[in-house]
């Protein structure tokens, strides 16, 4: 039997069949045993019923992207599976476990040449008191992956502890039955032994990581209006902010949410809201207010397919233009993008730190893929980025809230500070904050707000730059993982690729990118848009010193490492 560094599994079922639970449990079992993994759900917009699949990739190394195709597909049933189209790719090496009573496997599976083995999961479950077919599926998949039964039973019992002994017994019996049913099946491969870790690993979603990062960065207030796929950030923050003396307020709409966080921050409490494209569109006016009045805030946009309501449950990178250019007037602000589940923590913490330090709004562009994926990761390091605002205290004499300082950052008086009374204003204002329509004041304050961002030293965190090849792959956000994997495969073909992924999208860093591109002979821009927004952004703000090609596609299908690898090898 062969050994693989990485194995990918899809668990398919109609809504309610428990496919997502099975996928989640498999990730928990594997990560408890020391493997890395990434789990993502794919489902339609309906709350119950419809199609659902858990997509899981387990590996001995950290995992930041889905596979090109799946090694194992377990179909608890296939009732609505055709709606996935080509999202769940099978190949001739794929093993498919199918319940013959669960309908016909879709064409994507039958035409792939995959080997299909039938197991009557539903009937086996019926033979167990309170048995569920998804626990049979869990047993089957666990055995095929090479887990020992006790590696599976212990974490599941812990996970189901609050459901009572009957539920645990039913699940154990189901898992054991699945284990037995898979006994004679040759999967042909097995996961290589996991690498031990020094630290305690974490299992969390990108949205949870974003929320924790914000608290680490000093955020103590959040305003919430629910929207897919950002709601989990707010739901995690609600109880956890309360634990650290903060609070989350549910807003009546996104217009209220953004203004609530401006009010909180004006009062001295660092604040965040999280939304998706439609909500960001509504918030844009007030983000301009935060720019003009110099109020630090963090706005997380977990991007989904657009325009309009688009595809709420699927990922895309199409809010880039809105985040960068959406504000009216000349309104410099921060735009950042995390690159993986783990990086969601760092980037939101950094965003909170930068917003506070620079007294400016920061938009964080996460996306549905990393936001709603769960990953087993190394514990992210504690970094020193904790928001520290330049405050005006012990004020004597006339206070100038918007005094022209050499670095553009002026001391902010927090309400309650004697002598610091001023009116924060969206109107063009003087150094004292008094409204004016004078040309000199307008220019001075425009310069001030531009300079405080442009003169700040963002350090090496502005981007991740890996490799030294003369083909540069420039990408951003959650595509970075697939791009790195593609670069790794290209290295095996002796094509040397460097991957450049800016984490800081605004303000732009032309000198740093020029340095990162030193010696590059070809540039491949990779993004998940229909119109090539990122490519246009690069063209507008950077010198690209070599021939450029694009590889871009809108959602909902994720862009895989295999596709990027092909785009590299096709460019001869």
């Amino acid at each position: 039997m062969g050994v693989s560094q990485s194995i990918s599994i899809a668990i398919v079922g109609s809504g309610g069949a428990g496919a997502l639970t099975t996928g989640n449990f498999l990730l928990e079992v594997a990560s408890a045993a020391g493997w890395h993994g990434l789990f993502t759900r794919t489902l339609g917009p309906q709350i119950r019923g419809g199609e659902a699949a858990g997509l899981l990739r387990l590996a001995v190394h950290p995992v930041d992207c889905l596979p090109d195709q799946f090694d194992l597909i377990v179909g608890i049933d296939w009732l609505n599976a055709h709606r996935f189209g080509s999202e769940i790719k099978a190949g001739s090496q794929t093993l498919v476990i199918s319940d013959p009573r669960g309908g016909e496997p879709p064409a994507m599976v039958t035409q792939s040449g995959a080997r299909v083995v039938e197991i009557t999961m539903k009937e086996m479950a019926k033979a167990i008191a309170d048995g569920r077919p998804n626990m049979i599926a869990l047993g089957i998949a666990s055995r095929l992956l090479g887990f020992r039964i006790e590696q599976v039973l212990a974490p599941i019992a812990k996970r189901l502890a609050d459901k009572g002994p009957a539920a645990i017994a039913a699940s154990r019996a189901g898992i054991k039955a699945g284990f037995d049913a898979a006994a004679g099946i040759d999967f042909g491969t097995q996961l290589a032994a996991p690498t031990p870790s020094d630290s305690r690993r974490w299992l969390l979603s990108g949205n949870e990581a974003t929320a924790l990062g914000a608290i680490r960065g000093g955020v103590r207030f959040a305003a919430a209006y629910p929207i897919t796929p950002a709601t989990e950030i707010l739901e995690w923050l609600s109880p956890n902010l309360a634990k650290v003396g903060g609070v989350l307020l549910q807003a009546e709409d996104e217009l209220a949410a953004i203004n609530m966080i401006i009010g909180s921050s004006y009062g001295g409490t660092p604040a965040l809201t999280a939304t998706s494209g439609p909500g960001l569109s509504l918030m844009i006016e007030a983000i301009g207010l935060a720019t003009a009045a110099e109020i630090p805030i963090v706005v997380v946009d977990v991007m989904r397919g657009g325009p309009s309501t688009g595809i709420p449950t699927k990922s895309e990178q199409t809010d880039l233009n809105l985040a960068i250019y959406g504000l009216h007037g000349d309104a410099p602000h921060l735009v950042l993008a995390p690159q993986s589940v783990s990086d969601c923590l760092f980037t939101s913490q950094w965003a909170a730190y930068l917003a506070e330090t620079l007294q400016a709004p920061a938009i964080v562009l996460s996306d549905q893929f990393m936001g709603q994926s769960r990953a087993a990761i190394e514990r992210p390091a504690d970094v020193a980025f904790i928001g520290a605002r330049k405050l005006a205290t012990n004020i004597s004499g006339a206070y100038k809230r918007y005094a022209l300082a050499s670095n553009g950052v002026s001391a902010m008086a927090i309400p309650g500070t004697p002598g610091g009374q001023y009116t924060a204003d969206g109107l063009t204002h003087s150094e004292s904050g008094i409204p004016t329509s004078g040309a000199a004041d307008h220019l001075a304050q425009l310069d001030k707000r531009r300079d405080k961002l442009d003169h700040f030293n963002f350090g090496d965190h502005w981007a991740s730059v890996e490799g030294t090849g003369d083909l540069a792959l420039i990408t951003w956000g959650s595509l970075t993982g697939a791009a790195r994997e593609a670069a790794g495969r290209a290295a095996a073909d002796r094509i040397n690729v460097r991957v450049i992924a800016p984490r800081l999208l605004a303000p732009v860093q032309p000198e740093r990118l020029a340095a990162a591109l030193e010696g590059v002979k070809r540039i491949l821009v990779v993004e998940q848009t229909h119109s090539g927004q990122f490519h246009r952004y690069l063209r507008a703000h950077y010198d690209l010193p070599a021939p450029v090609r694009m590889f871009h596609r809108p959602g909902p299908l994720p862009i895989t490492a295999g596709e990027i690898h092909r785009a590299i090898t096709d460019w001869r």
Binding site: R200, W202, L212, R216, G245, L255, N259, G263, A286, G416
Partner: protein
């Protein structure tokens, strides 16, 4: 209002900035500003512990004319901004200033939810039944037959009744004032600020430029003939049937304010990570 240890001896002038208002001569909002500073002085609040929050419009210019902390934000969102400020800074006295366009039209939804949420703040709407800053368009309180360039011959749309809307949405303190009666208005504002929870004060404030007819309000307003009720049913009937010129505190309930616990915490952030540890 936040509780204060010491009561200061203050004069209204201590709460005025030296900025000259942009309002037209004779505008009712000058009187509202006087009532604000009188109420603050009467309560002896330190100016730095007061935040005056507003949106956009003539009335929303008021924060900068006070010597308090102020926020002149975007159109219609002052209540939301004030909510974020007050829940995180319960020590401050928060007063929100708005107008009939800012508060009832673009900001209408926030009005409903501020009444319902009952955060301890005072909401003052200077109602002149017109958009003044944009030079005379009808607002949600303008009479249907009032002729404007935007609505020649009148909008034909019935005005809404802000006090009834406030009552139905759960507001706990509802009052109406006339800007010209600065002493009475200051008294009501002081009561509204002291009221724990959301208090709503509608101030009839004439627009002398686009609604010179409103100068007649002076002769039309009268103190409400009966005392404030705490009976919602009675209040609804009174508000629905009055002619819009009864002034004073009209409804005064006792629903407790909404204020989550905030402040310093001993919890180490590593506690939060336990959710994620394998």
């Amino acid at each position: 209002m936040s509780s204060l240890g010491t009561r200061l001896t203050c004069k209204p002038a201590d709460y005025k900035s030296d900025l000259k208002p942009i309002w037209c001569p004779g505008c009712g909002d000058y009187h509202v500003l006087m009532s604000f500073t009188r109420a603050f002085a009467q309560l002896g609040l330190p100016p730095e512990k007061i935040a005056v929050i507003s949106g956009i419009g003539c009335s929303s210019r008021i924060p900068a004319y006070t010597n308090c902390y102020g926020f002149h934000g975007v159109h219609g969102r002052s209540l939301a901004l004030a909510a974020g400020l007050k829940v995180t800074r319960p020590d401050l006295t928060v007063v929100v200033a708005s107008g009939d366009g800012d508060g009832y039209s673009i900001g209408g939804n926030h009005f409903l939810h501020a009444c319902r949420r009952n955060i301890d703040m005072t909401y003052v709407v200077m109602d002149n039944r017109i958009y003044g800053m944009t030079k005379g368009q009808p607002s949600p309180t303008t009479e249907p037959e009032f002729d404007t360039a935007l609505t020649p011959g009148g909008s034909g749309v019935r005005p809404f009744h802000p006090l009834v809307v406030a009552l139905a949405s759960g507001a706990n303190f509802i009052a109406r004032c006339f800007s010209g009666e600065t002493n009475e208005t200051a008294e009501v504002l002081a009561e509204a600020i002291k009221h724990p929870g959301f208090s709503f004060v509608e101030i009839l404030s004439p627009c002398v430029t686009f609604r010179p007819d409103e100068k007649a309000w002076k002769g039309q307003v009268r103190p409400a003939s009966v005392a404030a009720t705490n009976d919602q049913g009675k209040a609804a009937r009174r508000l629905m049937t009055d002619d819009g010129f009864n002034v004073g505190i009209l409804y005064h309930g006792d629903r407790p304010p909404f204020q989550p616990a905030v402040g310093a915490s001993d919890t180490d952030l590593s506690e939060l990570e336990k959710d994620f540890e394998l």
